[in-house]
């Protein structure tokens, strides 16, 4: 589709969005600005599109229609937990009372208690679910939760003047945000290899830990779609060396209400509410990444958190904590209190789903993944860890297909789009060649999974008989396979009137 700027016409506008109801010229123009020095004013024209409201509505409605999304397609993107995002969570979070409140608006027993009581309740629920006593909701996504976690680990060591711990350990299958976060916190990163059964190599871990170890970052179930069976031993190894354990909660959907990261021995946890608690991904965000900690990290939590107290008249009141209550806090992570609107949606989800419901969530997430893995392996595909149970996700390796037909995981992924499915995660984790990381989630029906299996089988057939069809896929999307190399070599990042294209 043509970009919005190409529809722009000089002088076109929506007068309902003229704040004074008249044009600037009619209003007396620049006179209003007489107190501003001439050289402080903008002279460069505002290069925004000039279109009518109808043109804008049409343009963005049509753009939306060319997106795949959970609301329109099965979206088995591994590690991303693309489950149904209940509409009611959005509807309630958009209530004018929640939307209109300024973050610094006065708080007393009659004011601001709606949103703060929800956040307080959410804090309590998360503590129960994770099995850790301290919580801060403020991180704005998983990666910021990771930052908060590792920064707390650092604050903990620093507070004890234990300054020689310079290293963070991560499994080689870890998500890229783990090592990137460790770097941001000033650590060097050491990768621990994975055994052929998918578990972390415990011996290698033992060999790697030492007085330089600040901590270990771990996902469990891991990004390989298996549960680390020796988690208790691993925790002991790290703790014995004086390090702390960080839990990356991206995969919580597999174990919610069954195993608590706190019980596994983790000192610190982040959650992705945009995964486990079904808040929308919005084409890239916003999410929220609350962090939970045990007693020893509690003093270092990022501020603010929500506390319950009483006002001068003895009435219950929920309020934000301030720096004076957390003198050892690692600091604030945002200008206000994080992605409150996202947290509200997660809260609604948890209220609806409830304790028993979350247990069913993990039950059916795991059932769907194991069923899908079994159907696909029976159909001749190769699982990366065939001897293991799938968790909420599992990995196929298409190495055989690549070798036999010259059709790669990327080609399969693109061809799946033609069949109406979003593609699984590809080429992650890096250690499994030609891999697809497939996560169906609990909200998909058996029929949908069966359709996916049928599509995979059909594509393999095509790979055999007409590989070019697969190699040049997709064919039914609004554009064909896009040239990523060109995009990176000749970056075209903003539109301009004189950009011409062939």
């Amino acid at each position: 589709m043509s970009v919005i700027f190409e529809s722009s016409r000089k002088g076109r506008r929506s007068m309902v969005h003229a704040p004074m109801g008249i044009t600037l010229k009619e209003a007396g123009g620049r006179a209003i600005l007489s107190d501003l020095p001439e050289n402080a004013l903008r002279t460069a024209p505002l290069p925004l599109p000039e279109v009518s409201e109808l043109e804008a509505v049409r343009h963005y409605t049509r753009l939306s229609q060319i997106n795949y999304s959970i609301d329109t397609n099965f979206y088995p993107l591994g590690s991303c937990t693309m489950k149904y995002n209940p509409k009611v969570c959005n509807t309630l979070a958009l209530h004018p009372g929640f939307l209109g409140r300024h973050p610094l608006s006065p708080v007393d027993a009659d004011l601001g208690q709606g949103v703060l009581s929800c956040l307080y309740d959410l804090q309590r629920m998360l503590k129960g679910l994770i099995g850790l006593p301290g919580v801060s909701l403020t991180p704005m996504a998983g990666a910021q939760g990771e930052f908060a976690g590792v920064a707390m680990i650092r604050a903990f060591h620093d507070a004890r003047d234990d300054r020689n711990r310079t290293e963070i350990l991560v499994p080689d299958a870890s998500h890229g945000t783990n090592p990137a976060t460790a770097t941001m916190c000033g650590y060097t990163v050491k990768e621990i290899p994975t055994l052929s059964d998918g578990d972390v190599d415990l011996e290698a871990l033992k060999a790697a830990v030492g007085p330089q170890t600040a901590g270990l970052m771990l996902t469990n179930p891991s990004t390989l779609g298996v549960f680390e069976r020796s988690i208790r031993e691993m925790a002991k190894v790290v703790h014995d060396a004086g390090g702390l354990l960080y839990y990356d909660g991206a995969n919580l959907n597999a174990i919610a209400q069954r195993v608590r990261p706190g019980d596994m021995g983790f000192d610190c946890v982040h959650l992705n509410v945009h995964k486990t608690f079904a808040t929308p991904h919005g084409g890239g965000g916003p999410g929220a990444g609350p962090v939970l900690v045990n007693q020893r990290l509690m003093p270092h939590l990022p501020i603010p958190t929500i506390r319950r107290g009483t006002d001068d008249e003895g009435r219950d009141i929920f309020r934000l904590t301030d720096a004076s209550e957390y003198p050892q806090s690692m600091g604030p992570l945002s200008a206000f209190a994080g992605n409150v609107g996202v947290l509200l949606r997660a809260y609604v989800y948890l209220r609806l789903t409830g304790s028993n419901g979350m247990r069913r969530v993990s039950e059916f997430a795991v059932l769907n993944a194991n069923y899908l893995m079994k159907r696909l392996t029976e159909a001749g595909f190769t699982a990366a860890f065939p001897e293991r149970r799938a968790t909420h996700e599992f990995i196929l390796t298409l190495k055989n297909e690549a070798d036999s037909f010259g059709v790669t995981a990327l080609d399969f992924a693109k061809r799946l789009l033609d069949y109406g499915f979003y593609a699984p995660t590809i080429y992650f984790p890096l250690l499994v060649p030609e891999c697809l990381l497939i996560e169906p989630t609990e909200t998909e029906s058996k029929e949908e999974l069966d359709r996916f299996v049928a599509a995979m089988i059909a594509i393999r057939k095509e790979a055999e008989t007409e590989p070019e069809t697969v190699r040049t896929a997709p064919h039914t999307t609004p554009v064909g396979r896009l040239d990523e190399t060109r995009a990176a070599r000749q970056p075209d990042l903003v539109w301009s009137a004189d950009t011409t294209r062939t």
């Binding site: 970009v3 999304s69 959970i70 004018p96 789903t353």
Partner: protein, 461 residues
């Protein structure tokens, strides 16, 4: 009450295919001693009607005051079309657009966003969002340190007039990388940085200078001088601006002789509801030369095999999923949907609408200042040009009294007003000062009624 479609028959069939008896068997790799039963602090699930009734009541109890607070989050009107479109399922429930061909809606919108925000800042390029304004500034600082190969120092200057929480967030996020943050003081009459304050750093090597516009107090900094000073020192200049203000004020790309190197800020004024502080979004724009140092997602335009234009995530070699511990940032999920809202906001207002909205904010803030200035006991704290917020001093209040302003605020709240931000929240000693803000929705009638109420309440003190 989870969202699970399975019937009993489905479960039976699926278990048979897998070859286990019960779903419990699927968890048999988890050490038994780790398993817990469901008891914990989550209440039982409830039907939708019950949760809706409870939440509606809570939301309604947050009765929204007529708001004169700004301080980093601004109460603008948002055209209804913005959120009617943003919440369409196809935008709302898509992931980060890894599969470009199935995500052209999101990708093209982001490309349009990048174009609009870069244009508003008069900068060469933009990324596709960061978490919020404060964390975007931290990323900008990290980026400047990476990019500045001219000086060896890791000293970054931030003026006292920069939002204090932003300063703390920057500190939190950059402190582990050997970066030294130093504060540039402001003068007490104009509330801005004067050349004399910069002169204090004349003998130091400086890596970057942060320049807020308008600053926390609503005052306008002498951005040209500051930008040129940085350049002359070999430091990179980082603008931290309110994007609404940039529809009226000179944009960072044109500050000084050559523009700033990086311009970032809080995107909330561009169509994002106040919502108790989030989700908002941070934006970061830069000069072309710095493109490979930019953190976060970037969308680029390219072509398919038939030469049709399309959009992809690009320059991914900067990012954590490729470069891991050597990435430009750890950011993964950003605030995508919020930039969709901002794109729609800027499109609906258009150049004239946005310009006039900024002017209207300014006109109303002037009216507000004039209206409160004549209230007995009120004076205006700073002299000099400002944009849409300013500080008043309550002269009649004892400067040692901790309770007077909070009490006044509570009484104003009872009358329906969020009557500005008491500065003591961040500057405990500034007990008599309040930061007031007006936007295009604060018309003369509203302001006059507010000033009258303030007069009455001050008279009762």
């Amino acid at each position: 009450m989870p969202y699970i479609p399975h019937t009993d028959a489905d479960v039976a069939e699926m278990l048979a295919v897998i070859g286990v008896n019960t779903t419990q068997d699927l968890f048999d790799e988890i050490p038994a001693e780790l398993k817990v039963d469901s008891e914990n602090m989550i209440p039982e699930g409830a039907p939708e009607w019950r949760v809706a009734a409870d939440l509606r009541q809570r939301a309604a109890s947050d009765r929204t005051l007529t708001n004169f607070i700004g301080a980093g989050a601004y109460d603008h009107h948002i055209p209804a079309a913005v959120w009617e479109l943003v919440t369409r399922g196809e935008f709302y429930t898509a992931y980060t657009p890894y599969q470009a061909e199935a995500s052209q809606g999101t990708l093209q919108t982001l490309y349009e966003f990048q174009t609009m925000i870069a244009g508003l800042m008069a900068m060469d390029l933009s990324n596709a969002s960061l978490y919020d304004g404060a964390s975007a500034l931290a990323e900008a600082v990290l980026m400047a340190i990476r990019a500045n190969r001219k000086v060896k120092s890791k000293v970054v200057l931030m003026p006292e007039s920069l939002h204090p929480v932003w300063r703390q967030v920057v500190h939190t996020l950059v402190r582990h990388q050997g970066i030294i943050l130093k504060t540039v003081r402001i003068d007490s009459k104009y509330g801005v940085v004067q050349p004399s304050a910069l002169a204090e750093f004349d003998s130091e090597e400086i890596a970057a200078l942060v320049i807020p516009q308008p600053n926390l107090f609503g005052q306008l900094e002498d951005v040209d001088t500051l930008t040129d000073w940085a350049k002359a020192r070999g430091a990179l200049s980082i603008a931290a601006v309110n994007p609404m203000a940039m529809a009226l004020l000179k944009p960072p790309g044109q500050w000084g002789s050559d523009g700033v190197d990086i311009a970032c800020g809080e995107g909330q004024p561009l169509g994002i509801p106040l919502s108790s502080g989030g989700p908002y979004f941070g934006f970061l724009t830069a000069k072309k030369a710095l493109v490979r140092q930019v953190p976060g997602r970037i969308v680029g335009r390219t072509v398919d095999g038939q030469g049709r234009e399309g959009f992809v995530l690009t320059l991914q070699a900067r990012e954590q999923h490729i470069r891991r511990s050597r990435a430009t940032s750890n950011i993964c999920t950003n605030q995508g949907l919020m930039t969709t809202a901002a794109t729609l906001y800027m499109t609906l207002l258009g150049p004239q609408g946005l310009h006039e909205t900024a002017i209207s904010c300014h006109a109303n803030a002037q009216h507000l200042r004039d209206a409160v200035e004549v209230v007995p006991g009120v004076s205006i704290r700073y002299t000099g040009p400002f944009f849409h917020e300013f500080i008043i001093t309550l002269d009649g209040i004892n400067s040692q009294d901790d309770k007077a302003v909070p009490n006044l605020m509570q009484r104003m709240a009872k009358k329906g007003y969020a009557a500005g931000l008491p500065l003591s929240l961040w500057y405990p000693e500034r007990r008599r000062e309040i930061l007031l803000c007006a936007t295009e929705i604060h018309d003369a009638i509203l302001i006059d009624a507010f000033a009258e109420t303030l007069r009455e309440e001050l008279a009762c003190l």
